[in-house]
Symmetry: D3
Subunit: 61 residues, 6 copies
């Protein structure tokens, strides 16, 4: 705890994911006073055909 | 905001997803007084072996 | 199934929630070919101090 | 209701999933006084490169 | 990991929650071969006016 | 997009939340190449009686 879920489009590299979880963990640790080792980050990847804003799929934009 | 997550079995066509996000966005906009362009819809697809009711997987029904 | 989660700011009336779940259920049923009685809608309400876009809380906008 | 979401690493067999949803459904039913047939369990599988604790991906441990 | 989220109506006692997380943790541990100390269970409570099936709020049933 | 959900114990101040969403937004923006204004962060607060690890509620530790 805290547990962080990041929902984003698929296609990021392993290096980007490595940097993402490291930086997000630090950001949470510094601001809400939690130990880094207690912080979990989960990445949930999404296709562009499974996300819409304004009623229009990102796959169609 | 609002942000809507629709969890459903995989297998719907792109046209069904297009219609789904359009109609859900309109339904939310009309009933809770939010602008369509501020409404996000995410679709999360699931396999039948990852869903159960009554303790039995849908893949076994 | 499908199961729908609507995340929105707190403050809507019971009548708005009634209309929301009815209309969203119909929208899902019509577009992805699911029976209305199998569709679940959950509303998760949020305070303005618990939501941000662009790094700024809605409570500060 | 209740609705249970189990997030875990991918790679479990169909038999493990069968046993998981059966046992979890029983555990919930017995302890919070809900009928088994009203309990839903969803499994969400994750890759080791999409999960971190302490800022380090499980894929790197 | 695994991480389990239980969404249920509000109103259960602390003793019911104690029993719930203990039994669910055991059920997950036994069936998918995970150590109990690595298993997290989160309870998310919901009002009857925030849940619907078949387009009708539980508060109206 | 990306959309980030931070689940943590209740009790943080408004200033901590302000700092949290700002820093997390920057961390995501820098590492996965997304514009800050497109990034959403939602905070979901939890009571200690609604979270367990190892089958024991945080309220009992």
């Amino acid at each position: 705890m805290p547990t962080v879920i990041v929902k984003m489009f698929e296609g990021r590299s392993l290096d980007q994911k490595r940097a993402l979880v490291k930086k997000v963990t630090q950001a949470v640790s510094e601001t809400v006073n939690a130990k880094e080792e207690s912080i979990i980050v989960m990445i949930e990847e999404m296709k562009k055909e499974n996300y819409s804003s304004g009623g229009i799929l990102s796959a169609d934009k």
